[in-house]
């Protein structure tokens, strides 16, 4: 909730408004037996604890340490990801995009907020922001610079706009000096952002 220099709120909602509204809706829907408290709690736990970028990091670390897996991942991302037990909503078809010294991939959804939930969890706010959705396709290098990545002009940049059912997972380059590390160790080095390509 930002305030501009003249002290006027951009944001029209008083802070507690959506919280109160949501409470009121949950209350009515529970009373009518159309939802249950435990189902809500369980789904929240699912996306706060079970379905998140750690899944994607495991996929990436496996690909870094297992060339055959990497090949399967690039050929059929959905199937290779399912090998590790991941899949589900917003992951009907997952395509892995390999970053190389020559090619940098970056993912966006300009029309809404499509994102590969099974491997990355729910999208962060910046991914859903109008700024990212607007700028990623027209000035990806400027956007990457804001994320601290100055891409060499010789590197081709490919931006993937998730306008249909495919969800994209970027397979980042393995950091220098990490060859020989175990998949478990490598998992800790894989950031969520690197799997979006920023």
């Amino acid at each position: 909730m930002s305030e501009d220099h003249d002290g006027h709120h951009h944001h029209p909602l008083p802070e507690p408004y959506p919280a109160i509204r949501t409470k009121a809706l949950e209350s009515l829907l529970v009373e009518k037996g159309l939802v249950s408290t435990d189902a809500i709690d369980a789904l929240i736990k699912t996306y706060e604890q079970d379905v998140g970028p750690l899944n994607g990091a495991r996929v990436v670390a496996r690909a870094w340490t297992d060339p055959a897996y990497k090949q399967r991942l690039l050929e059929d991302g959905t199937a290779a990801i399912a090998e590790l037990g991941y899949g589900g909503a917003q992951g009907a078809q997952i395509v892995a995009l390999e970053n190389t010294p020559q090619i940098h991939n970056m993912v966006v959804c300009t029309l809404c907020s499509c994102y590969p939930w099974p491997v990355l969890g729910l999208p962060p706010s910046w991914y859903k922001s109008p700024a990212y959705r607007a700028r990623a396709v027209s000035e990806p290098r400027a956007v990457l610079r804001e994320f601290g990545l100055e891409l060499d002009p010789a590197v081709e940049i490919r931006v993937w706009d998730s306008t249909a059912e495919v969800r994209y997972l970027v397979l980042p380059e393995q950091p220098a000096g990490t060859v020989g590390m175990s998949a478990e160790e490598l998992t800790k080095l894989v950031s969520r952002d690197s799997m979006v390509g920023v």
Binding site: H11, P18, S36, T163
Partner: protein, 227 residues
Amino acid sequence: MDGVHDLGGMHGFGPIPYEKDEPVFHEPWEARLYALRRALTVPMFATVDEHRYALEQMPPARYLGLSYYERWLAVFQEALVANEVLEADEMRASFEAYEANPDAPVPRRTDPELTARVVAAAFRRPSVHHDDGIARFQVGDRVLARNIHPKGHTRLPRYARGKQGQIANINGICNLPDAIVAHREPEPQAVYSVRFEAVELWGDAAEPNASVYIDLWDSYLDPAVIE
């Protein structure tokens, strides 16, 4: 529809609002709203396409002025009334009751069967129809994104319309979202990943050595006139 949701290439939105170590949900109500919608035994939107279209139809200043979950809340409320799950009067009464007493507890109800079902649904792997037989284009074909301006839902972004690209991949067969949301007969079509050079999309404003891959349904495309 040519709405403000179609943000690709738009200027004026400032820097990316990056937040380090961002939580999955910023506020408890966001988590509850998210899960409430998905756990409801009577879904408010038959398809994700219809949910998207509901969001797109919000008044433009509102769409841009609200946060992501505030938008979800707005269309969820409307859908609950439109689908006759809640009456406007009882919804208003409940709002007023909690406004008067924000700390009042929410009634609890447990339903282990429902819980098992919604969690399982989160992990259920949808199947994709692969039948490239109906694909009109092959990888490498040059295509032109059509200059369409439907008032209904579409997934051909404005910034690609009238622009030439090249088929990079055939993703599979999916029903056309435009038809789903219009409640027409299903229109299964090949969906392609189409590569557009940045300079084709943005002219002199293009960054060097860049391209955009957009997933487009068959009927969004025409063969390119000039090879």
